[in-house]
């Protein structure tokens, strides 16, 4: 995100050589207004009327004095802070970047103790700094490493850190002024773009709908005859289906008669006396010398017979019997 702010000149990085670093201890972690900072810390600046960038980390206040009246950008971040941000998790030491001019950062206990630049030609002794800050190690980095670390810092800069470097004062009056001055044209443009895009979108969809409607009407008129025929066909199918269910629901009596005749074979000494088929019930009389159960079993084998019962058995003078079966048929 910070890269985008830099790209669109909403943020600025102040080079180390243009700033003077000062560290101060605070009694407790607190926030200061720009006025309080100027009042308290301006006297430590080597420049008159400096622009002061501050960063508070726990009970430490880091201040960078810049020899300018102000910046147009909303976020102003010292280069030293970006480098410190990439180095603070590493070991204590004097970090020297071999750039033009040389950039030196002193970090101890993850705190930035000093940051300054020296000329390439100046006689610089890290031994003095080691003594002064009681640090044993020093590291020298190349120009490439400097560029890499700076790029890394711009990528991983947290939102909280960025917030500390904002120039926006959230006082009601200032905010309103800022809002009007900085955001009115972008907002108006956004409104205009929104109106244009939504209107254009709707216009294009309406055009598409118009074309589709025309195409649909053409196709519809092509299929009218077939559709009417299908409608008529479906109506007829429904009617005939209802007709079959209502009228032709029971088994064909002639089929029943045929199947019942097949119950008696030529070997059996039996004749059918009468058959009465009314709706879904059958009364069948057989004249025979045989046992009724034999015919009962055969009748039960006919698939569409649901219940077959022997209604009565009447013995005749000649010794034969008239057996009457009552049969219920399954409904189709």
């Amino acid at each position: 995100m910070f890269e985008l702010l830099l790209k669109y000149k909403i943020a600025r990085v102040v080079p180390m050589q243009d700033s003077f670093f000062y560290i101060s201890k605070l009694p407790k972690s607190m926030k200061f207004s720009q006025e309080i900072i100027t009042l308290n810390y301006e006297k430590f600046s080597p420049f008159p009327n400096p622009f002061i960038i501050t960063y508070i980390q726990e009970k430490e206040l880091y201040a960078w004095f810049v020899k300018t009246k102000g910046f147009d950008e909303l976020f102003v971040i010292p280069e030293a802070f970006l480098l410190y941000d990439t180095l603070k998790k590493e070991q204590d030491g004097i970090y020297i970047f071999d750039t033009k001019p040389k950039k030196i950062l002193i970090i101890k206990n993850a705190k930035l103790l000093a940051s300054f630049t020296t000329d390439q030609n100046s006689t610089f002794s890290s031994a003095i700094l080691k003594d002064e800050y009681q640090i044993d190690s020093s590291f020298v980095y190349s120009q490439e490493e400097f560029t890499r670390r700076l790029s890394l810092a711009t990528k991983q800069l947290s939102f909280q850190d960025l917030y500390q470097f904002t120039k926006i004062s959230f006082k009601k009056k200032d905010f309103f002024k800022f809002f009007i001055e900085k955001l009115s044209y972008p907002l108006i443009s956004l409104f205009a773009i929104y109106i244009f895009i939504t209107y254009l979108q709707a216009y294009l969809i309406e055009q598409k709908i118009e074309n589709l409607t025309q195409k649909y009407q053409e196709l519809k008129s092509k299929n009218t005859t077939v559709k009417q025929a299908i409608k008529k066909h479906n109506k007829a199918v429904k009617l005939y289906e209802e007709f079959v269910v209502k009228e032709l629901h029971s088994e064909d009596p002639y089929k029943c008669v045929y199947d019942m005749y097949s119950v008696i074979t030529q070997k059996d000494k039996a004749t059918i006396n009468s058959i009465d088929i009314t709706n879904n019930s059958i009364r069948l009389s057989i004249n025979t010398h045989d046992d009724a159960i034999k015919y009962l079993k055969r009748l039960n084998k006919i698939k569409y017979f649901k219940n077959v019962v022997i209604q009565n058995t009447h013995r005749k003078r000649d010794g034969s019997k008239i057996i009457t079966f009552f049969i219920y048929m399954k409904e189709n």
């Binding site: 009007i180 001055e181 009115s184 044209y185 907002l187 108006i188 409104f191 205009a192 929104y194 109106i195 939504t198 209107y199 979108q201 709707a202 969809i205 309406e206 598409k208 709908i209 589709l212 409607t213 195409k215 649909y216 196709l219 519809k220 092509k222 299929n223 005859t225 077939v226 559709k227 009417q228 025929a229 299908i230 008529k232 066909h233 007829a236 199918v237 009617l239 005939y240 007709f243 009228e247 032709l248 064909d252 009596p253 002639y254 029943c256 008669v257 045929y258 005749y261 004749t271 059918i272 006396n273 009468s274 058959i275 009465d276 088929i277 009314t278 709706n279």
Partner: protein, 170 residues
């Protein structure tokens, strides 16, 4: 308040609010309408691609009914009786033939009922019904009664024959 930027912003905001409230096209509705049309077109395309012959959609069931256009009730019953007597010729002896009362059904068809009594040999009974069913019209047998007559080789057959007369579409 005298800042022209502010006034311009305010005016734009008023314009935007009014646009959203009164002029903003309902793009969701338009999209739904578009999708619906696309679905309908796809359906029409599918139907069109099937090349359906509408003549093939006419059901061949008309012939199973006596047509109201051709026969009024009495004529239909007369035709029905004629078919029965023709079918029974040489097969069975018709001993009784009785027309059922005029139907009062509000359906799209009338039931034409004839109560019939026949005397015939068992085999001829089947030949009679086969002959009857050679006609295109639908004949449905109801309440069939068969019984053996004393001292006679022929069976006594009572049945109710039903045919159907289709009302013409209005």
């Amino acid at each position: 308040m005298q800042n022209p930027k502010f006034l311009f912003l305010l005016l734009s905001f008023v314009l935007l609010v009014n646009y959203i409230n009164y002029m903003l096209p309902n793009r969701d509705r338009l999209n739904r309408e578009k999708e619906l049309l696309e679905r309908k077109i796809a359906k029409e395309h599918k139907l069109n691609a099937q090349h359906i012959d509408s003549k093939k959609l006419i059901l061949p069931y008309k012939k199973y009914f006596f047509d109201e256009k051709k026969y009024n009730y009495s004529q239909a019953m007369g035709k029905f009786q004629e078919i029965i007597t023709k079918s029974a010729q040489k097969q069975c002896k018709i001993t009784s033939l009785k027309w059922a009362p005029v139907p009062t059904s509000q359906d799209w068809y009338d039931r034409l009922k004839i109560n019939l009594s026949l005397e015939c040999k068992p085999k001829n009974m089947f030949l009679f019904i086969n002959k009857l069913r050679e006609n295109p019209e639908l004949f449905y047998v109801q309440n069939l009664k068969l019984f053996h007559q004393r001292n006679k080789t022929e069976l006594r057959v009572n049945m109710q024959l039903v045919a159907y007369r289709k009302h013409h579409e209005k």
